[in-house]
């Protein structure tokens, strides 16, 4: 599995298509996060913004490869695995992006709760923020996997579905991403930063299911 992953990662890196979502994410953080703001609230914002970016990265990875090149890889490894390599590449990039953003935001923010009442140690804040970012990266790639090839093939349907799916994943009650982000926002008010356990587990399961569904469909619905 490492060979297709390296190939996909190199393809993404050299195609430079990763630039727009990364720049947009940086701009989103630049607008919403300022140094000296309460750390947990900023981390919640950081995690929530990562979800649509992860979905977009999946769309980029899945559509970047020309169909003929995709066929060559799929013949060697099987179409499901070739597709899985695309999805995992996007997930890895999203996780990396979330990691960097969380570390930077933790360092520049104020280690206090809202209103400077309760101190929140930076390490404790990072321990709460990193799982939240992971949850959003996972769910974002799940949304991306379910709203691009092979599930939705026309761009006219795929892009609105991706945006709607990402929005719903962030705001709807019961979504692991919503749970993780709102735990951070509440934590910022109370000054307590619990490390979330249930949301990451839920996100891993949902994402695995989404990847499996996309992988099963890829040989049935090509080209």
């Amino acid at each position: 599995m490492t060979a297709p992953l390296r190939y996909q990662a190199d393809l993404l890196l050299r195609s430079q298509r990763w630039l727009p979502p990364v720049i947009l994410y940086a701009a989103f953080l630049g607008v919403g996060v300022q140094s000296g703001q309460p750390v947990l609230g900023s981390l919640g914002y950081t995690a929530a913004g990562l979800l649509p970016v992860a979905a977009w990265l999946v769309r980029i990875c899945v559509t970047a490869e020309p169909p003929a090149a995709r066929a060559c890889v799929a013949a060697a490894r099987g179409p499901a695995r070739a597709h899985l390599a695309c999805l995992l590449t996007a997930l890895l990039v999203a996780v990396l992006l979330g990691l960097v953003a969380t570390v930077v935001v933790t360092l520049i923010s104020d280690p206090m709760s809202d209103g400077h009442r309760v101190p929140v140690p930076r390490l404790r804040a990072a321990a709460a923020g990193l799982p939240a970012a992971l949850v959003c990266a996972l769910l974002g790639t799940a949304v991306g996997a379910l709203t691009s090839r092979p599930v939705l093939r026309s761009r006219g349907r795929a892009v609105p579905a991706l945006l709607l799916g990402a929005l719903l994943a962030v705001v709807s009650a019961g979504s692991p991403a919503q749970a993780a982000v709102s735990a951070l926002v509440t934590g910022s008010r109370t000054g307590r930063a619990p490390v979330p356990l249930l949301p990451p587990a839920g996100a891993v399961l949902l994402t695995a299911a989404a990847f499996a569904a996309a992988g099963r469909l890829v040989a049935r619905r090509s080209p």
Binding site: D10, E65, A68, C72, A76, A219
Partner: protein
């Protein structure tokens, strides 16, 4: 590992209610065989090849067997952000080679196909023919057990076309299966073990000996060591094998397979002695053999 690829009552349609492109297809691709698929444009040849390469799942029926497969699509995109050698190294590792072995194989195959000079050229700047050479090379890098060629010869120059025919002969001689579609009826003429025609969504085996021209033939004259028997590979490939004198044979073999036959003869136990090799009279590579130095 089951190396026989077996299609049983396979059908394929695009979409749940789309028309059937193929239906009721039974086909076995055994190791070491060369199979030609014919049919008119849009008859479903490419769909069948995609099924054989396991790129598409059948809508009905069953496909069993999973040989290590390499596929050459009709067109290769030059939109990949790699150099030719970089692309091949990546695809070589995807085919299961180590990085160094992949880089070496990439160089070897680009050289064999006459594109060695373009190894460092970005894919986007390659000509159509050169990027087709990259496609062909990626399929041959890792000695696949099943090679699926969808009009792989289209766009190649004469030397690369001959080289690809030779590579196909080598693959089958080494026990790999090759399935190909090509619009040129002379392509590898006389050598396929089976020829199938796709018509009306079904597959029919062409059993009648093709009245079509049997491509260029190389005549090899060999002498046996006492008690020597023709190796089975040579017997299978040769169009004719007349005994001109006791222990002396005159073999007519398809030009694409001459190297394979010579190798079989020379590595036989006891080895045969090669007396002469006459190139085909209408070899496109050497239109006028007399004028060569």
């Amino acid at each position: 590992m089951d190396r026989d690829l077996r299609l049983t009552a396979v059908g394929r349609r695009y979409g749940i209610r789309g028309p059937w492109v193929l239906r009721g297809v039974d086909l076995v691709v055994a190791p070491g065989t060369l199979t030609r698929i014919e049919g008119t444009n849009g008859s479903g040849k490419s769909t069948l090849l995609r099924l054989l390469a396991r790129l598409d799942a059948p809508s009905e029926g069953r496909i069993s067997g999973r040989p290590r497969t390499a596929y050459v699509p009709e067109r290769f995109p030059s939109a990949l952000p790699f150099t030719a050698a970089g692309c091949l190294t990546h695809l070589g590792t995807v085919h299961g080679l180590g990085r160094e072995a992949a880089a070496r194989a990439a160089d070897t195959w680009l050289e064999r196909l006459g594109a060695g000079a373009y190894a460092g050229t970005p894919m986007a700047r390659l000509s159509k023919g050169s990027s087709q050479k990259v496609t062909v090379a990626q399929a041959l890098l890792a000695d696949p057990e099943l090679l699926v060629l969808d009009e792989a010869w289209t766009g190649l120059d004469a030397a690369a076309r001959t080289e690809l025919e030779r590579a196909v002969a080598e693959r089958t001689a080494a026990g790999g299966a090759v399935v190909f579609v090509d619009h040129d009826p002379c392509r590898l003429a006389g050598t396929p073990d089976a020829v199938y025609t796709v018509t009306d969504g079904g597959l029919r085996r062409r059993t009648d000996p093709p009245g079509a021209p049997s491509g260029p033939v190389t005549v090899v004259t060999v002498r046996a060591a006492p008690g020597g028997r023709l190796p089975p590979d040579a017997v299978r490939i040769a169009v004719s094998a007349e005994e001109t004198a006791p222990g002396r044979r005159r073999l007519a073999v398809p030009a694409s397979h001459s190297d394979t036959v010579l190798r079989a003869l020379l590595t036989a136990r006891p080895p045969w002695h090669v007396v002469s090799v006459e190139p085909p009279s209408h070899d496109p590579q050497h239109p006028d053999p007399g004028s060569r130095p």
